[in-house]
C-alpha cells in the first residue's frame, strides 16, 4: 500500500515529454532556493550588526529551523522504519514455523484444519484462491465503474454536478468496512438468493460487490487527478483536429493518463486484498476452492481475523497465522512493485 500511495502524485503527471521534464527542474529549483533561504539568517547575523534586536533572535531562529528540519526528516523516514518494523515483527512470529512446514504444501494444499487433534493440516491454497478470486471479481466490477466515473467527473459533467459527485464519492469512501459487511450479511445476502436462485447469499459475489464499492472511491479520486493533469493543450489540439468527445477521451486522454489510471486501479486492488471485516462477514468464510462466483469462499485476511484471537501464543496455529500475514505482505508488495515498474516503464518511453 504505502509505496504506491506515496507515488500517487507522480504518475498523475502526464508522461508527455515536456510534462515529464517540467516538474523535475521545478523541484530542483525549489531545492536550490531552499538553501539560500535557510542560509541568510545564519550568515546574516555577522554581516548586519546594525540590527541588535534581530541579531539576538537569530540563534533561536536557527535552532528552531534546525529542529523543524530534523523533525520533518524523521517524519520522512518514519514510514520506512514502520514498514520494516512491522515486517520484522510479523516475520519473527511466523518464521520459526517455516522449518517445520512443507512450503509447497502450505501454498497449494486446500486442507486448512489447524486445530485437529489427530492430524493438523496447514494448507492455505483454498485461502489464497479465495483472496485472489474475490479481489479479481471485485476488480472486474470496480474498474469499469471506477474509471468510467473518473472520466465522467473530470471530462463530461458540469461543475455543479462534479462538486456534488465528489462529495458523495468521498462519503462512500468514509463508510466503515464493518458497516459494509453488515449490509452484505443482511441486505445483499437474501437479495442474491432471490435474484440468482442460489442456495447461499454470503458468497464470493457478495464479497466482491462490497469490495468493488469500497475500492471505487479511491479509483475515482486518483483517476480523476490523473485525467486532470493532462494539459488542456492536448484537449484543444484534439478538438481542433475534429475529434468527437468520445474520440478525445479514448484516443488522447486515456493514453496520456495511462500510468495514473493504472496506479488508481492498483491502489484499488491493494484496498481489496487487505480488506478484512467486510469479507469476513460477507463471503461465507468457507474453506473451499470455489466452482462458481456464487460459492462461498474464505480469504487470508478473514482467517487471521477469525482465528488469531483464540490461539495460544507461540503455538503452531499461531505461527502459521503469522505466516499467512507474511504471505499477504508479500502479495501486496508484489502488486505495488509491479505498479511501480509499470508506471516507470511507461514514463521512460
Amino acid at each position: 500500500m504505502e509505496p504506491t500511495k506515496f507515488r500517487s502524485p507522480t504518475p498523475s503527471f502526464p508522461e508527455g515529454e515536456s510534462a515529464l521534464r517540467a516538474p523535475d527542474p521545478a523541484n530542483q529549483g525549489n531545492k536550490a532556493e531552499e538553501n539560500p533561504v535557510l542560509r541568510p539568517p545564519a550568515g546574516g547575523a555577522g554581516r548586519n550588526p546594525s540590527a541588535p534586536r534581530r541579531a539576538g533572535r537569530r540563534p533561536v531562529v536557527v535552532a528552531f529551523e534546525k529542529c523543524v528540519e530534523i523533525l520533518i526528516h524523521l517524519c520522512g523516514i518514519s514510514s520506512i522504519v514502520f514498514v520494516f518494523g512491522i515486517f520484522f515483527f510479523v516475520f519473527r512470529e511466523g518464521a520459526p514455523f517455516l522449518r517445520k512446514l512443507d512450503f509447497g504444501e502450505f501454498l497449494t494444499s486446500k486442507y486448512w484444519i489447524p486445530t485437529s487433534q489427530t492430524n493438523p493440516r496447514y494448507g492455505a491454497g483454498a485461502l489464497i484462491v479465495g483472496t485472489l478470486s474475490v479481489t479479481g471479481l471485485a476488480m472486474v466490477i470496480a474498474v469499469p465503474f471506477g474509471l468510467g466515473a473518473a472520466v465522467f467527473v473530470s471530462e463530461f459533467c458540469s461543475k455543479r454536478t462534479r462538486e456534488t459527485l465528489k462529495v458523495v464519492i468521498e462519503l462512500l469512501a468514509a463508510i466503515p468496512s464493518v458497516v459494509w459487511g453488515f449490509v452484505g450479511l443482511s441486505v445483499l445476502s437474501p437479495l442474491i438468493i432471490d435474484t440468482f436462485h442460489v442456495p447461499v447469499g454470503v458468497n464470493m459475489f457478495n464479497g466482491a460487490l462490497l469490495l468493488a464499492l469500497m475500492s471505487v472511491p479511491i479509483m475515482v479520486s486518483i483517476g480523476e487527478d490523473a485525467l486532470k493533469a493532462v494539459p488542456d493543450s492536448y484537449r484543444e489540439a484534439a478538438m481542433a483536429l475534429g475529434a468527437t468527445r468520445w474520440q478525445l477521451v479514448y484516443r488522447v486522454l486515456l493514453p496520456a493518463a495511462k500510468s495514473g489510471l493504472l496506479a488508481a486501479v492498483l491502489l484499488g486492488v491493494g484496498r481489496a486484498i487487505g480488506e478484512t471485516m467486510a469479507v469476513l462477514m460477507a463471503t461465507g468464510h468457507s474453506v473451499r476452492i470455489p466452482g462458481s462466483i456464487f460459492d462461498p469462499v474464505r480469504t487470508l485476511t478473514a482467517t487471521i481475523a477469525a482465528e488469531l484471537g483464540e490461539t495460544s501464543k507461540g503455538s503452531d496455529h499461531y505461527q502459521v497465522l503469522f505466516l499467512i500475514g507474511i504471505l499477504l505482505f508479500s502479495i501486496t508488495f508484489v502488486v505495488n512493485l509491479t505498479a511501480d515498474l509499470i508506471v516507470k516503464g511507461i514514463r521512460r518511453k
Binding site: 486445530t115 489427530t118 474453506v287 473451499r288 477469525a306
Partner: protein, 296 residues
C-alpha cells in the same frame, strides 16, 4: 471477533484487578482476596459474567477469569496456579492421581450448570427431527449426506438441494464439543462449511438461508429459525431441546459444566461457589444462554 471479546475482557479484568490490588493501600490489599479462575472456553462468557456480578456481592474478593480450555484449567489446578478450574468435562483418573500427589488432595467437583447445543434450520424447513448419526454424516469428512433429498426433505422456496452446513471457527469451544460429540474425535469436519465467528452469527445466517443447517447454544434461538428435535440413533424417539430435557439427560447434545477446587475449598472459595450455585448465580446462567441447575 465476538468470540475474542470475552477473552479480551477476561484479560482486561484480570489486569485491572491486579493493578487495583497493587495500587490499593497495603492494608486493604492484604484483605482483598483474589480467586484465579481458569479453564473451559465454553464457560468463559459465563465465568466472566459471574465474576463481574460477584464484585458487588463481596467487595473483598476479586475473581480473575481466564479461558484457554478445560485442559488448561486442569493443569493450572494441579500446578497450583489457579484456585478454581472451570471444566466442561470431568477430571480423568490420571489427572485426579496427579492432583493428589502435587496438591495433597483430590479435586473436588461442583456442578454449576449445563451447556446444551441446539440444531437449527430455516423456519420454512419441514424437517422436524434429526439423529446424531445423520448429523455426523452431514458434517463429517467423507460423510454420505450432502443433499436435503438424502434426508427426504424438500424445502419450499429453496434454491437447489444442497445442504449448507453452518459451523463455527475452528478454535471455539462449541466447535470442539460438536466435533467430539458428533463428528467424532478421530474424524475431521468436512471442509466447505460456513464457519461463523459467533454463536449468534450462526443463527442469523440460518435465518437468511433456506438451505442451511447449523448448531449453536440453546439460548441463541430466535423466532426466525427452527430448533429441531434430536435423537441418539435414527429411528429412536427424538427429543426437543429444553431445560427439562437437558436436566433429565434425555437430550443427547448437552453436557454439564463443572468447577473444581483442590481438596475442600477455603472459606472464601466456598462462599463464591455457593453463590454461583445459588439462585442469584443460576439466574446469570440462564441469562447467558446456558441451562441452569434444577431448582432446589
Amino acid at each position: 471477533m465476538k468470540q475474542t471479546m470475552p477473552l479480551l475482557r477476561a484479560i482486561f479484568l484480570g489486569a485491572v484487578s491486579t493493578l487495583a490490588a497493587g495500587l490499593c493501600h497495603p492494608a486493604v490489599a492484604a484483605e482483598k482476596k483474589i480467586i484465579r479462575n481458569i479453564g473451559s472456553d465454553t464457560m468463559v462468557n459465563l465465568a466472566i459474567a459471574w465474576a463481574e456480578a460477584y464484585e458487588k456481592v463481596d467487595k473483598n474478593v476479586s475473581v480473575e477469569v481466564n479461558g484457554g480450555g478445560s485442559g488448561k484449567g486442569v493443569t493450572a489446578l494441579i500446578e497450583g496456579t489457579c484456585e478454581i478450574a472451570n471444566c466442561s468435562r470431568t477430571f480423568e483418573d490420571k489427572e485426579i492421581a496427579e492432583c493428589k500427589t502435587k496438591r495433597g488432595a483430590e479435586p473436588k467437583e461442583f456442578m454449576v450448570g449445563y451447556d446444551a447445543l441446539s440444531i437449527f434450520v430455516h423456519k420454512n424447513n419441514p424437517l422436524n427431527e434429526i439423529s446424531l448419526d445423520q448429523l455426523g454424516e452431514i458434517y463429517r469428512e467423507g460423510g454420505k449426506i450432502s443433499k436435503w433429498s438424502d434426508l427426504g426433505v424438500k424445502i419450499p422456496g429453496a434454491k437447489g438441494d444442497e445442504i449448507i452446513r453452518v459451523s463455527r471457527q475452528n478454535n471455539s469451544g462449541t466447535y470442539h464439543y460438536f466435533k467430539e460429540a458428533i463428528v467424532g474425535k478421530k474424524n475431521e469436519f468436512r471442509l466447505g462449511s460456513l464457519d461463523m465467528n459467533g454463536s449468534k452469527d450462526v443463527v442469523e445466517l440460518i435465518a437468511k438461508t433456506p438451505n442451511a443447517i447449523g448448531y449453536s447454544g440453546m439460548g441463541y434461538a430466535t423466532k426466525e429459525v427452527k430448533q429441531i428435535k434430536v435423537s441418539k440413533k435414527t429411528g429412536e424417539p427424538a427429543v426437543a431441546p429444553s431445560i427439562a430435557t437437558t436436566l433429565d439427560k434425555s437430550y443427547p447434545i448437552a453436557r454439564p459444566m463443572f468447577m473444581y477446587t483442590a481438596g475442600e475449598p477455603a472459606a472464601y472459595l466456598k462462599k463464591y461457589i455457593d453463590w454461583v450455585i445459588s439462585n442469584a448465580g443460576q439466574k446469570i446462567v440462564a441469562e447467558t444462554g446456558y441451562v441452569p441447575l434444577p431448582k432446589k
